[in-house]
Each structure stands twice: as C-alpha cells, then as structure tokens.
Symmetry: C2
Subunit: 154 residues, 2 copies
C-alpha cells in the first residue's frame, strides 16, 4: 500500500494492487454485507446503514467503539459505480460541514487490479485532520481484509 499526502496539497492518494478482478473489488465496495466484512479499523464495529450504489444514491455507515461512541460517515454517489470508477462525496458527522470527494479507480492488469483511492479535501487543514485521525491505522488493516475477501472470500 502506497500513501501519497504531499505537504500543502489538499489531497491523499492511496494505491494498492489486489490479486483479483475489478468486478470483485466493485462488489466488495457496493454490497452492504461484503463492505461490512472489511471496512474500518479492527477495534470498531461497523454497521452499513444505507448503500445505494447508483447515480445520486446515498451511502452511510457507522463505526461503534467498545464504549458505544459512534462515528458516522455519509454521502452521495456521483455517477453509478462501475468496474472502472466509484465517485462519492464524504462527510464525517464529527466534523459537520466539511465535505470531501473520494474517487476510487480500478485498473485491471491481467488477473490483478490496482485500486487507487484519490481523496480531495476543501483545504489542507481538513486533509491533515483526516490523516491525523488515524487514516493509515484504519486503512491498512481494512485493505488487508479486503485483499483476503476478494482473493478467497467471494
């Protein structure tokens, strides 16, 4: 997994190659039962509240920590998710009013697929908040579970 977060640029780009076709990665992102199997840090429980993977559809999921504290993320799909691209707005209920854009692309190379997650933020401060909130600590184990899911689980 490669993370690029350049100083002064309101953007984070994370890439990783998976030993699976794009259609499995798409399913893992757009089917609630599958998404719940890999997304989020280990120590949080995830509930997928809404997942409408179509142009203008909504999505929302909630992480709950052991003390019962909740962290909800929600937004909209711009365009229908495909095996090439998912575009969605993001908002975190603990940081209301800060909206960012997440662009996931799937690039198939033979029987492997490079997943690129490009997130752009309204400001560098908002990007830094996101990175400091434990992005990498959450993303790394999530994508490890995603790798297991798409290579062995579906």
């Amino acid at each position: 997994m490669e993370i690029v977060a350049e100083p002064g640029v309101p953007q984070v780009v994370v890439t990783r190659e998976f030993a699976a076709p794009a259609r499995k990665l798409l399913r893992a992102h757009t089917e609630p039962d599958l998404l719940a199997r890999w997304l989020g840090p280990d120590w949080l429980k995830i509930t997928v509240d809404v997942l409408e993977p179509r142009d203008g559809g909504r999505w929302r999921y909630t992480h709950t920590d052991p003390s019962g504290e909740r962290y909800a993320f929600f937004g909209l799909y711009h365009g229908t998710p495909t095996t090439e691209r998912i575009v969605q707005t993001y908002e975190f209920d603990h940081q209301p009013g800060v909206v960012y854009l997440n662009i996931i692309t799937f690039d198939e190379r033979g029987d492997r697929t490079v997943l690129r997650q490009n997130t752009v933020f309204p400001s560098v401060e908002d990007r830094d908040y996101y990175v400091r909130s434990g992005m990498e600590k959450g993303l790394r184990p999530s994508w490890d579970r995603l790798a297991t899911l798409v290579t062995e689980g579906i």
Copy 2:
C-alpha cells in the same frame, strides 16, 4: 474578484464581496430564473435544465454557443444549500468522468457578503484544464451580472 490557483495544488479559490445579504446570493444560485440571468460567459446562451437545491438533489445547465454547440454541466447537491454554504459535485459533458467538488460559502459582514467559491479537482491537470478553458473569462462577467442582480434586481 480574487482568484487563487497555486501551482501544484488541485484547487481554485475565487472570492468577491457583494453589497447584498447572503439570502439574495443564495436565491440567485438556487432559483432557475435568477441563475439564468447571470451565469455563464456573455457569448453563450444558458438553459437551466434541472435545479433541485436540496440534499441529494440534481442540477444541470447547458450553455449554447452561436453555432449551436452545447456545453452541459451537471451534478448533485451534498447537503441542502443554505445562506452559509452550497456544496455540489460538478461534471462537464465534454470531459466525462472528471468530477470535481464546488464549495460556495457566504460570509455576511454587515450589509455585505463575501462569496468564496472553493473548487477542488481530482488532479492538478484537471484543475489546469478548467482554468485554461476560460474560467476567468466566464466568471468575471458572470459575477458582475450577479452583483447587479443582487443589488438592484431582486
């Protein structure tokens, strides 16, 4: 009007103060008849095809040049537009698949309002394309007309 487009940063921020309250600027952005009176370069005719200023609503407008060529822009509202903020995704039909995020904020100061339009792009190349496509040439006369509309027209 101040335009900030820093090298290497996929963002354009444009600000201008208007001698009008935020509620008039909001109306000028969210009522189709009013939007059509100020938006777009002088040499293009605008048609507001869809304007649903609510969370998850769609928007779409088309510019037509004297030869009949059409340029359509469309997207979704993330959150309901208010006198504080409008957040919308953007896509240009001549550049399909490139989605950006537009965050307009209204900051009232006495009987004046500072409008800040913060646009973030998937990449610096996409930002540069947007700037080179005549952004300033379109925006400057548009905002001049917007100023006239909100101070005298509504």
